[in-house]
Symmetry: C2
Subunit: 268 residues, 2 copies
């Protein structure tokens, strides 16, 4: 029976709906760095015939995922904004996180950002932020921006609880970056780092993503104890120092908010 499907190894099996995948790959061209594409550029980039690319664009534009601009340049369209609204309103984490972030930011008196992240496919994505009226600094985390798992408190809080199977795969694929991030030179050292991260209820990191900023985050768990994301705050080093002895309290508060979210996630 092993012979039956031998000709296409499972790890490079092509999805059945190749047309759909190719159309979506057009959409995938639109990134932060290259937010506009002409049909010809896209055709060249994906090795498509121009007339075929036009059909793909037409489908995407018709649905609203793209909009045709001037000079034949297209960009991401309004359907995305509408779909994003759906995620904002129906994401259980976001619903719970908003109030929690508000409470976490309060003691910093406008000099902190609340951060809510979700674990997704060996990455972390910020799904919501609480930004006070006038914020005196900018941060790397931003709703919709994918971040690596091993830099920043919000990421590490998730990484620490991902479970052996996933962290092993992560090590195999991105070992060098893990080592570069100071999380261990080999697999067993990495495991030790993770154990240490897990020992803290809330993680505090200094300047890992933005110079002069401090992140404080704790993991949020869903059903069966799986880590779903993290919640926390980012503030300036100066404001953190100003906390002095109260820093411990803030950590505890972050951990408590995260745990409270975990509990409420189980109830729903």
């Amino acid at each position: 029976m092993a012979y039956a499907t031998r000709d296409t190894p499972a790890h490079e099996r092509i999805s059945k709906v190749a047309t759909a995948d190719k159309v979506l790959s057009v959409l995938g061209l639109f990134t932060m760095e290259t937010p506009e594409w002409t049909v010809d550029e896209a055709a060249a980039a994906l090795d498509l015939k121009t007339s075929t690319a036009y059909q793909y664009f037409r489908s995407l534009i018709e649905f609203g995922l793209l909009v045709g601009g001037s000079g034949g340049r297209s960009s991401v369209g309004p359907a995305v904004i509408s779909l994003d609204r759906i995620t904002r309103r129906h994401d259980g984490l976001i619903a719970l996180g908003r109030a929690a972030m508000g409470r976490l930011v309060t003691p910093f008196d406008g000099e902190a950002v609340g951060l809510l992240c979700r674990s997704f496919r060996m990455q972390v994505m910020c799904i919501d932020e609480f930004v006070p009226a006038s914020l005196p600094f900018a941060i790397s985390y931003e709703r919709g921006r994918p971040m690596p798992l091993f830099r920043g408190a919000a990421s590490k809080a998730i990484l620490a609880h991902l479970g052996a199977r996933i962290t092993r795969r992560l090590w195999d694929r991105q070992g060098e970056q893990i080592t570069a991030a100071g999380l261990g030179a080999d697999w067993s050292a990495f495991k030790r780092s993770l154990r240490q991260l897990r020992s803290r209820a809330a993680l505090v990191t200094h300047g890992e993503l933005d110079e002069g900023l401090v992140g404080i985050s704790a993991p949020v768990f869903g059903s069966e104890g799986l880590v779903m994301g993290s919640v926390g705050v980012v503030t300036t080093e100066a404001a953190y120092v100003r906390l002095g002895a109260r820093a411990g309290e803030v950590e505890a508060t972050v951990a408590a908010e995260a745990q409270s979210m975990s509990e409420r996630l189980l109830q729903t």
Copy 2:
């Protein structure tokens, strides 16, 4: 030659990439009202075979437009959030609008929302809002929510400047709703209403979308004088009354901000 393609009338010609369109139609099922679908439900709704629907879901999930949840229920995925970030960062209107909205909201001392809308396919979509820290009311407009063209100041400011060809088509398609909105019982009355709307630099509406709220908006134009969207504020009736004689100034400010945005749009 008329016989050659007779079997598919031009007005209902199906797009060529039927597969892609069907896959996208699956994505289209996910709405504010029904944000979760199982493969079976989607197959039933779109008259697809289950095994086919699975392939569609797989493509969408692989790309991240959907995520598979528990119990076979899927919902909108992280790719949407990433794409939304691209629109936020690369939309010229949003870039200009943020500061303008901030200035417009200031005199209301926290009791107003800034609103930035875009015209799109005979609809209006809010693409950005400026919400002060503690807002004592909720509004219908919200980033990503499509709104009709003929209710609310933000919409009417756009409608007034759409041009005869589009307004005519709008009348043909949605005449009853236009009449219901009090914009005229027939085409020529509608035209008259539009002319009157155009005569004001900024539009003020009372309670058209939310009871007890007042909208003040003005149109923003792009190249060739085409209306691109509108910018304005929404406040409470009470706060508006409190303005008293200064209401005129606010209107003028809204109009001025909108014009300033139009001018800067032309420069870029």
